[in-house]
């Protein structure tokens, strides 16, 4: 297990290095000089920046400087905000995104497992039909539509009741977090529901569930200890990629709900061509996702004994 963990971490580092290199090359493929678009920037600052990043040097040398800074954990200084390190920006805004993302993932995983099991146990009966219809909606409708729609609904309900049951936008309290994390997790939940349904159906008809019945175990015990435990395994394997999906989705949801997260900051940085922020947050997100995927893999090893030993 330990050597497996170390192996995965090394693989992860290589992946992050790859992401960093790709980001670097992509930024250099964009036409124009990083500093040419900057508005109120005097010659002194410009030269300082050029010196710091070696922007007047050949690309190869710039790459080495960039990787050197990265290795020391220095993501540089914002091009558009004075005296703001990219590290500070991440430290300030990432916790918001992480909270939103974690809530969305928990919501998606719990909902997916529960609804998926429900559809499988009621196969071809009305709960199955209704939920699977909702799943098709959840998968095909983009999250910004849900975001706008849910805001509209909450506004209507608030107006109807005369009191504010849920805030429509902003951040700060748990009630602020409910709606956006729900919206953010919805697509993933729909996908996980479908996966759980097929996984559960396979297990319900498996030989070992027949054995469990032949042993005379109570139905609740069979459901919890034999069916659920095995049925969630495929869900755990896709949890890593799901976290990536949810992170990407958060860019949009943070904008619509006016949440001060890193995603919204990233979109803003792209609009303002804030190169260091774009590169820094991209590499950071990349590293974060790689870490998540590794964690999920290790978690899978804990649940599935077949992975643990091999």
């Amino acid at each position: 297990m330990l050597s497996y963990t170390i192996k995965r971490l090394i693989q992860g580092l290589i992946t992050v290095w790859f992401i960093a290199t790709a980001t670097f090359l992509a930024m250099h493929a964009v036409p124009g000089n990083p500093l040419s678009g900057a508005k109120a920037m005097n010659v002194e600052i410009r030269q300082n920046l050029e010196r710091k990043y070696g922007l007047n040097k050949p690309v190869g040398e710039q790459y080495l400087i960039y990787m050197g800074n990265l290795a020391r954990g220095d993501l540089g200084i914002s091009f558009t905000q004075k005296n703001r390190e990219v590290n500070d920006i991440i430290r300030e805004h990432f916790p918001v995104s992480a909270t939103l993302g974690i809530m969305a993932v928990v919501f998606a995983a719990l909902g997916g497992a529960l609804f998926g099991a429900l559809t499988a146990l009621n196969r071809n009966k009305w709960p199955d039909t209704v939920i699977m219809l909702a799943v098709i909606l959840g998968i095909s409708v983009p999250s910004f539509v849900f975001a706008a729609f849910s805001q509209l609904m909450v506004v209507k309900i608030n107006a109807l009741l005369g009191i504010s049951i849920l805030p429509v936008a902003g951040w700060g309290t748990v009630s602020h977090m409910l709606l956006p994390s729900l919206v953010l997790g919805l697509g993933t939940m729909a996908y996980l529901t479908r996966l759980m349904r097929s996984s559960m159906l396979e297990i319900i008809n498996s030989d070992y569930i027949r054995t469990a019945n032949a042993k005379g175990l109570p139905q609740t015990r069979i459901f919890l200890q034999h069916e659920m435990r095995n049925a969630i395994l495929p869900l755990v394997t896709v949890l890593g990629p799901s976290i990536a999906g949810i992170t990407t989705g958060s860019f949009v949801v943070e904008l619509v709900f006016a949440i001060p997260g890193l995603g919204r900051y990233f979109v803003q940085a792209v609009q303002q061509l804030d190169y260091t922020v774009i590169m820094g947050t991209t590499v950071f997100f990349g590293a974060f996702l790689v870490l998540m995927v590794i964690l999920v893999d290790l978690l899978y090893g804990l649940i599935d004994p077949r992975v643990r030993v091999s």
Binding site: N205, S206, D207, Y208, R210, T211, A212, N213, A214, K215, G216, L217, P218, R221, Q225, H226, R229, N230, L233, I303, D304, P305, R306, V309
Partner: protein, 352 residues
């Protein structure tokens, strides 16, 4: 020493009468089991033998409440364990009889155990559920049971998962699990079919030894007459959802009363290497169970088929004590019919 008095004949442990099971499919209704009756006596082995698809598994799964419904349906029949109904229910007096009074093992041990639960836990949970034992006590007993099933280093093995076991070891573990609560009956549905030939004999020996030690009755399902010869006291030969012959193991091998039994015998490999024995598979295939024939189900393949065979279903003709054959050749008007079966049944090595 005086000879012990012959034991008074006890009522059978399990009695099954006229069991009929159907499956509703898109293609129509499959009549998988068409009026099966048999009984099982304490401590004895009843073998149910027949080609694949003849309804052996569905018969015993119906008794255990394991037939998926729908598409399955119990059309009629009764089944009583010590006089108490077990058909269409999983309970006697509010308690699940499965695992407690009737244990069951299956054909494929590799897929029949939960892959994410240790072997020991899977055995122990039966004891926890039926006997109310603590986790610890049940696990300790699970180790003893694995040891009884001749699994070496049982204490370590109990903590392992199914994928760490070989097929033969898994089937032993299944047996340990099925007999954990010392059931009166053990149903073994093709228990050795998925195993290597060398392992098959060991598993059968284990079943036989456990039976002698605990007095368990066994319903042994197989398509292999070799297994029947080795294990059975009583035999039921099944064809197309019916029992076509029923008798003692000697009846089946030396006095067969149905041409299908004879056909099965001819298709069985001989143990005698000197014998000039050619395997003669039965030609043709079993009838369509969507619309079973009006007469004898075996008529299309039977070398002795008569006109009446395709129009009228033969009754079970009694040909000896606890021995019957469902074949028109036993009718008084089919003069010499029974001897025709016997002639066909003569083992080839005796012909010279």
């Amino acid at each position: 020493m005086t000879a012990p008095a012959p034991p008074a004949k006890q009522p059978p442990l399990l009695t099954v009468e006229n069991l009929q099971v159907e499956f509703e499919t898109y293609g129509g209704t499959v009549q998988a089991v068409r009026g099966v009756s048999f009984s099982v006596e304490a401590g004895k082995t009843l073998a149910i033998v027949g080609e694949s698809g003849c309804g052996k598994s569905v018969t015993v799964q119906a008794l255990m409440g394991l037939v998926p419904m729908p598409p399955g349906r119990l059309k009629s029949g009764t089944a009583e364990l010590r006089g108490r109904n077990i058909l269409g229910t999983s309970q006697i007096d509010g308690l699940d009889f499965r695992g407690r009074e009737i244990g069951m093992i299956f054909q494929d041990p590799m897929t029949s155990l939960n892959p994410t639960m240790t072997i020991g836990r899977q055995i122990a949970e039966t004891l926890e559920v039926h006997l109310g034992w603590s986790r610890k006590k049940a696990f300790a007993r699970a180790i003893e049971l694995l040891d009884m099933a001749r699994i070496p280093e049982a204490a370590q093995r109990a903590k392992q998962y199914p994928f760490e076991f070989s097929g033969g070891m898994l089937q032993r573990a299944m047996i340990a699990m099925a007999i954990a609560c010392e059931p009166a009956i053990l149903i073994a549905d093709e228990p050795t079919t998925a195993l290597d030939v060398t392992i098959q004999a060991q598993v059968l020996d284990l079943l036989g030894d456990l039976q002698r030690e605990h007095g368990t009755a066994i319903i042994l399902i197989t398509h292999d007459l070799g297994v029947v010869a080795r294990m059975a006291d009583e035999v039921a030969v099944m064809y197309a959802g019916q029992i076509v012959e029923r008798g003692s193991v000697d009846d089946i091998f030396y006095r067969p009363a149905h041409p299908y039994t004879v056909g099965l015998r001819a298709a069985m490999p001989s143990n005698n290497p000197d014998a000039e024995h050619r395997l003669l598979p039965i030609e043709g295939s079993p009838p369509d169970l969507f619309s079973p024939p009006a007469g004898c189900a075996y008529a299309a393949r039977c070398p002795h088929a008569m006109r009446i065979c395709s129009t009228h279903e033969p009754a079970p003709f009694v040909v000896g004590a606890d021995h019957y054959g469902k074949c028109w050749l036993h009718h008084e008007k089919a003069a010499g019919g029974a001897s025709m079966i016997a002639a066909a049944a003569a083992p080839p090595e005796k012909k010279s």
